[in-house]
């Protein structure tokens, strides 16, 4: 059902795109028709075989590391309340710094290989995870917590038995956001220093005025984001069966 819906949306977008091309007939180097992008995807397997895996690995690594760091920070803030007051301002400041501005410096620190892209993706995504998860941990029903204390539950037990299960749906929300942002982080990393990746391919195609190839690379990035998001949705549906979404 979901697959069908996604297909309908995708086909609808392509039809809209073709309609815009048909009505306004922009030159192909400004907006290529869908068929030209399809040809670029089909005719350049050499390009995609090299560059798509790079970006995928950067994205997955960034997503995994960012989720772990993000969840760990939220847990730390929940276990040790004073750390919340210390960490939160730092986290907010870290998000106020545009990743694009510090990307060249990160490339200098972490080199031009995968590390700098993973760091970039991690920075881009850990905050939504921390923020959502921490909110969930903090908003546990106070009545339940009082009850646990009456039963002399330890602080750690309150966290593991009450707060964490209560916050899992929030963590899921954070990871879903992260799955969509992670490829953006990786791409920014590729923009400032790289030897391969879809961002790298896009820069070159743009310099060569190969607009259809730019769009083809964009399409792969979007497809990757959507697929990641779908995988996260599937995986987390089993994680929080009691908090199923009502359609």
């Amino acid at each position: 059902m979901i697959v069908l819906r996604a297909l309908v949306v995708a086909v609808g977008l392509v039809v809209l795109w073709q309609a815009v091309v048909a009505v306004f007939s922009p030159p192909p180097f400004i907006l290529p028709p869908p068929v030209a992008v399809w040809h670029a995807l089909r005719d350049r397997p050499d390009l995609w075989r090299v560059h798509a895996p790079t970006t995928l690995i950067e994205t997955l690594s960034g997503l995994a590391i960012g989720t772990v760091i993000g969840a760990a920070l939220a847990l730390a803030m929940s276990y040790v309340p004073v750390s919340r007051r210390l960490l939160l301002p730092v986290l907010v400041v870290s998000q106020a710094i545009p990743v694009f501005a510090i990307a060249p410096i990160l490339a200098l620190w972490f080199g031009f290989g995968i590390a700098s892209k993973v760091v970039m993706a991690t920075i881009a995504i850990f905050f939504p995870v921390t923020s959502a998860f921490a909110d969930g941990l903090a908003r546990t029903d106070p009545g339940l917590i009082d009850l646990a204390r009456l039963y002399r539950a330890r602080r750690s037990q309150v966290v593991t038995l009450l707060r964490v299960p209560n916050a899992l749906p929030n963590l899921v929300t954070g990871v879903r956001l992260a799955a969509v942002y992670a490829p953006v982080g990786a791409l920014i990393g590729e923009w400032v220093g790289s030897t391969s990746g879809l961002g790298y391919a896009m820069l070159f195609a743009n310099a060569r005025s190969e607009t259809a190839v730019v769009f083809a690379a964009l399409f792969l990035v979007v497809a990757m984001s959507v697929a990641l998001r779908a995988v996260v949705d599937l995986a987390t549906a089993r994680l929080t069966p009691w908090a199923a979404e009502i359609q």
Binding site: P27, P28, P104, E190, V192, T195, A207, R208, S209, T211
Partner: protein, 313 residues
């Protein structure tokens, strides 16, 4: 205000027209000494004298200008001769009608105290480059002079962040720095460097910066006047470089420093006296180089990508 006054004066004195014709020019990059003829023609009233009201704009990225001109959104774009033929191959309807910089500026730079003393030392080393349309062909030609290919080096795209990785030792050499910009800057900052010029190492000479217009605008009467104004501004720059520099800095006070002055002085020799003149052999030669390296499918006809306009009336 001054511009308006000049335009008005020009209108009264020199021209039969009622108002100056508007002309939009898209630069390739932020204003820098490479653009001196344009800035001097604007500030010195040369455009106004030829009845032109020129609007200089900086596009979002270096490859946007030709596309916008091809789509009729602007009149003139500054671009690069090597990119021109790839643009026309991809169907962007632009042609070169003038030259801003008549030599390659690009060069390969290494630190004197670094591991690369001569080209052969590049084997197994890391070379950083900025986005160019023909990166491997270029490097292959230079390395070919010492029996290497681009497969013998590791290449890293540094985009707009060329110099710090070289200074930090993360790359052993960089391509795509300009001899009149980055090279001067490194020396001014006290880093002894050496540079290899592509046209002396296997790459045919080309015009680094050119003026492009849409194919359907080649007979536009504004363009010969534009080139005439540029030629006059260039003559002024070569005749009175100090006054020209003052004019250049007047509207770009943020560039008023010793480095700009050194870069300006290093750039003057690359402005052609006759910007409209087309060196046919140079353009065909470079097209041949691109074709040989597989970047063009077949050698294109000259008039499909470069023209020489008749003189201004």
């Amino acid at each position: 205000m001054k511009r308006l006054a000049l335009a008005f004066a020009a209108l009264l004195v020199a021209s039969p027209a009622f108002a100056a014709d508007k002309l939009t020019v898209l630069l390739d990059w932020y204003v820098n000494p490479d653009h001196a003829p344009l800035i001097v023609a604007l500030e010195g009233g040369y455009f106004a004298k030829h009845d032109l009201d020129v609007d200089l704009q900086v596009p979002s990225d270096a490859s946007a200008g030709p596309k916008l001109v091809g789509a009729g959104k602007a009149d003139v774009a500054i671009s690069y001769q090597p990119d021109l033929m790839l643009q026309t191959k991809e169907g962007v309807p632009v042609v070169r009608f003038g030259t801003l910089i008549d030599s390659p500026l690009n060069c390969l730079i290494a630190l004197k105290d670094g591991p690369v003393k001569e080209l052969a030392d590049l084997k197994g080393k890391t070379v950083g480059f900025s986005i160019t349309s023909f990166q491997h062909a270029y490097l292959d030609a230079i390395l070919g002079t010492v029996g290497l290919t681009s497969a013998d080096v590791k290449t890293v795209n540094l985009n707009f962040n060329l110099m710090p990785p070289l200074l930090a030792g993360q790359v052993d050499a960089v391509m795509d720095g300009y001899r009149n910009v980055e090279l001067i800057q490194l020396e001014a900052e006290g880093h002894p460097v050496q540079a290899w010029f592509p046209e002396q190492n296997g790459v045919p000479a080309y015009d680094e910066l050119i003026y492009e217009t849409a194919r359907d605008k080649v007979s536009d009467p504004r363009l010969p006047r534009f080139l005439a104004a540029i030629a006059e501004a260039t003559a002024f720059i070569k005749d009175k470089p100090d006054e020209a520099l003052a004019l250049f800095l007047k509207s770009h006070t943020d560039l008023d420093n010793d480095l700009t002055k050194k870069q300006f002085a290093a750039t003057v020799e690359y402005f052609p006296d006759n910007p409209g003149e087309l060196d046919k052999a140079k353009y065909l030669g470079f097209a041949g180089f691109l074709t040989m390296n597989g970047l063009l499918d077949k050698q294109p006809m000259l008039d499909t990508f470069a023209v020489e306009l008749p003189a201004a009336k």
